[in-house]
């Protein structure tokens, strides 16, 4: 009969394992999100000519505007990288600064997109006009919703870092946020190409 009782578990190792597990799990979630977007993309392509007398992409997309949106998002992905470097080195002020800049850029992107949507609706080309427009609003809108959730996440993280510094929980969630943010820009590449560029030709 064994009476030996060992000392406390290695908490640092445990946190490291949790970090790895969680980041892996989040990556897997992103992979499932790819299939969600894929289904929306497939539907968009199938409905891309279902204009039902309404406008086609050519008539409603303004390429320069979309290019600007694209650069805003791309830049926010770039600043997100510097956010990561600062966080890795646990430099609080730098992290909060880069987080704020990334948030602003993301917010700009969302505002630009909402403006585009509102203009379309006001001129009578809303999502009920045709199958094409339903698919357009839903695909681009789902991406925009994801971005908006990312913004909320950034806000929460901002205040958590401000008040609690870099706990292991916060480091873990920061990593997941960065993966999320980069992933959203990868999806946008396909929206930019297959919705906007293809829509105009």
């Amino acid at each position: 009969m064994n009476t030996e009782i060992a000392m406390h578990p290695n908490l640092a190792l445990h946190h490291e394992e949790t970090y790895e597990k969680t980041v892996f799990g989040f990556w897997v979630y992103l992979m499932t999100d790819c299939l969600l977007f894929g289904s929306l993309f497939a539907t968009f392509i199938v409905l891309s000519h279902a204009t039902f007398g309404g406008p086609s992409g050519k008539e409603i997309f303004s390429l320069p505007y979309i290019l600007a949106e694209t650069f805003v998002l791309l830049t926010s992905t770039y600043t997100c990288g510097f956010l990561g470097f600062a966080a890795r080195k646990k430099e609080k002020t730098k992290t909060l600064l880069w987080l704020f800049v990334t948030f602003l850029l993301g917010l700009t992107f969302v505002v630009m997109e909402v403006r585009e949507f509102v203009l379309l609706v006001l001129e009578g080309n809303g999502w009920s006009r045709s199958g094409f427009l339903s698919a357009y609003f839903t695909l681009v809108g789902t991406h925009g919703t994801h971005v908006s959730f990312g913004l909320i996440w950034m806000l929460v993280l901002f205040f958590q870092i401000l008040f609690r510094d870099f706990t292991h929980d916060i480091r873990r969630r920061m990593m997941c946020l960065r993966l999320f943010w980069h992933f959203l820009d990868v999806v946008w590449i396909f929206i930019f190409t297959f919705v906007y560029l293809f829509g105009v030709i």
């Binding site: 064994n2 597990k21 929306l40 279902a50 039902f52 839903t138 789902t142």
Partner: protein, 656 residues
């Protein structure tokens, strides 16, 4: 429908129903009252909250899934009985006892209940109960997500059952094809109930798939490489892969249908540029992997049961693994066989037909391997083994019908006939349900400490298999005679009635069989001292779960096992090893937030269905705030001291 700012579309008429539905609603209410009364009388509310609602222990979560599964089996079986009764009676001048609309809601509810709540419930019940134990882990990868997954599943279950009392349910079949499921042809709330209960439970399933995928990848005990895992774990890994890559398609498709209905979009509408065929395409791109999600766990269970009750190593481990991998891969490229008749070209039909035929091959390999395992084994014809043998017989019949159906010209004759219905019930009941019963009777002693009575189990089995044959063999014939599915009435000149009557007798026998199963559980519990198993290993098992006490302690293993071969426990139980020192164990803190987030989801679903817009906003906010609260919690784990582990391992089970 009238719309009101405070109550949306919800009016008093939502509570008014015909006699049968009223009766069912009142029965549900009485059961709920009985449960509430019992909890109050025995002062168990705090216990319920602490021990079950807040639990993050996968063993308990597995039991909760099991409870929902059992409740939904009863509901689904009643639906089935009602369908059989109507079809046996409604010939010629007789109209039966159900209106056409009610009949349609019943078969829709039957399918939805069985696939999403019984089938997926079984998947996650066995996952929670067995995966950590079989891989030598103490927990799943994401314990909180596990709790959330269950409660989302429960929220979907509640929403489905709420439709019985408040409003009505969809009448569009369990896959809800547009344009029938669009607003134009189904203006009521029924389809919305269907969409949101399935959507919410689907998200729970997706999270569950993620969790167990990560668990199997990242939390196997030292030494357990992939090729040393039990075949059950391989089957579950494949199931999780299918869930991960199929369920997002369902989420997207239901989203689009709900947008059509809620925001007047035109994805699948009959006009406006919509394309209903795209819905059919997408829903089956999910739907086919879904049926493999249902069957693979059953295959995994049978691999365990056959090996244990033949007292022999499973034959052909490597080919079993490859068969599982091929089935997984192939299930993604066959989905068109669900709509051969929709009008695609011969090339398209031929390609998908050929791919479908291919899937029969790895499945056949598995069946032969199980039979070869039995060959020269010391076979114990226990109840689990009987369920396996029944499976071989019935599943093979259904599978052969499936191969017939994979031939497009043949399918053109019997698509959506009772032949199809007989096929999928053969494989689902023969496979999933019999697999579930085998697993239930096999693992029951592990989680309770006592075995189930064998005699009653055998009675249940024979009633089930006889009942099944009587209920479904006539349907193959009816289908070939031209009987379509989902008919609430038919002409006397068809000559179909005798077959429907035989089928009804079959359902009655199945119901008696279920009665014996209920009796079996109660009887065994009542006399549990007689049935108690002291060793934790009543069947002389081969895998790691049998190495723990019955029931296993909170932390599963006092010492994380170290594995050197397949059938790890079989090898180690014949060796004596010294016991290393006990360690402190890190355990996640229980929390009710999973349930709370799911409760908000239920309210959100209900609010969307009835278009109570202020409530939609409030519940969305509640949901997001609850999630943020959880993600801001500082201490989500605690340390379970080694001293307590020592006390529990040495017999003091209830040490605080």
């Amino acid at each position: 429908m009238t719309h009101n700012a405070l109550f949306g579309k919800l009016t008093r008429s939502a509570f008014e129903h015909g006699a049968i539905v009223m009766g069912a609603g009142i029965l549900m209410l009485l059961i709920a009252c009985a449960v509430i009364g019992f909890l109050t009388y025995t002062k168990r509310w705090k216990w319920l909250w602490k021990e079950w609602i807040s639990t993050l222990d996968p063993k308990k979560i597995g039991v909760m899934y099991l409870i929902v599964v059992i409740l939904m089996i009863f509901k689904g079986l009643i639906d089935a009985g009602m369908i059989r009764a109507q079809q046996a009676l409604a010939v010629g001048a007789a109209q039966g006892y159900l209106s056409a609309d009610h009949f349609q809601q019943i078969f829709t509810a039957h399918g939805t209940t069985m696939i999403f709540f019984v089938g997926m419930g079984i998947v996650f019940s066995v996952s929670n109960l067995l995966i950590p134990l079989q891989i030598g882990a103490r927990d799943v990868a994401f314990p909180f997500l596990n709790s959330l997954s269950f409660w989302l599943f429960a929220a979907g279950f509640l929403l489905l059952n709420a439709s019985l009392a408040i409003g009505d349910f969809s009448a569009c079949g369990w896959v809800g094809y547009p344009p029938l499921s669009e607003l134009e042809f189904s203006p009521g709330v029924g389809v919305d109930y269907w969409i949101w209960s399935v959507q919410i439970t689907g998200i729970g399933s997706l999270f569950g798939g993620l969790n167990f995928f990560a668990t199997i990848f990242k939390m196997r005990c030292p030494g357990m490489t992939f090729m040393k895992m039990p075949v059950f774990v391989w089957a579950m890994l494949a199931t999780m892969v299918l869930i991960l890559f199929a369920f997002p398609i369902l989420t997207a498709t239901l989203l689009m249908l709900s947008l059509d209905r809620l925001m007047d979009m035109h994805f699948f509408t009959a006009s406006g540029g919509g394309n209903p065929m795209m819905y059919v395409n997408l829903i089956w791109a999910w739907g086919h992997p879904e049926v493999y999600i249902l069957i693979l766990p059953a295959f995994g269970i049978f691999s365990e049961v056959v090996a244990t009750f033949s007292q022999k190593r499973l034959f052909g481990y490597v080919s079993m693994v490859w068969a599982i991998i091929f089935i997984t891969f192939l299930s993604f490229i066959v989905w068109l066989h669900h709509f051969f008749t929709m009008g695609a070209s011969a090339n398209v039909n031929a390609f998908f037909g050929a791919m479908t035929m291919l899937i029969a091959i790895p499945t056949g390999v598995k069946i032969f391997n199980w039979l070869f395992t039995m060959h020269h084994g010391r076979i114990h014809f226990t109840t689990p083994m009987l369920w396996f043998l029944g499976f071989v017989f019935i599943f093979t019949i259904g599978g052969m019908a499936g191969v017939l159906l994979s031939i497009a010209p043949f399918d053109f004759q019997v698509h959506n006939s009772l032949f199809l219905v007989a096929h999928f019930h053969s494989v689902i009941i023969g496979g999933v349900v019999f697999g579930f019963f085998a697993g239930f009777t096999y693992w029951f002693p592990k989680f309770t400490g006592f075995v189930l009575d064998e005699k009653l189990g055998k009675w249940a089995f024979w009633l089930w298999i006889t009942g099944f044959l009587l209920a479904f063999m006539p349907l193959y014939i009816l289908g070939l005679m031209g009987a379509t599915r989902r008919l609430s009435h038919y002409d006397a000149g068809t000559g179909w009635q005798p077959y429907f009557i035989v089928a009804s007798v079959g359902v009655i026998l199945i119901t008696i069989g279920v009665g014996f199963q209920v009796l079996q559980v109660f009887h065994s519990w009542r006399w549990r001292e007689k049935y108690r198993t002291d060793t934790g290993d009543p069947w002389n098992g081969r895998t790691l779960e049998w190495s723990t006490a019955s029931p296993p302690p909170l932390y599963n293993f006092a010492h994380v096992p170290e594995v050197h071969e397949r059938d790890a426990f079989w090898a180690s139980k014949h060796r004596r090893s010294p016991i290393p020192p006990y360690e402190d164990i890190v355990i996640p803190k229980d929390t009710p937030i999973g349930m709370i987030i799911a409760a908000w989801s239920f309210v959100l679903g209900f609010a969307i269905i009835w278009q109570i817009f202020w409530l939609v906003a409030v519940s969305m906010l509640g949901l997001i705030l609850s999630a943020i609260y959880r993600l801001s919690e500082k201490e989500t784990e605690y340390v379970f001291p080694a001293k307590q582990v020592f006390r529990i391992e040495h017999g003091d089970r209830y040490a605080p």
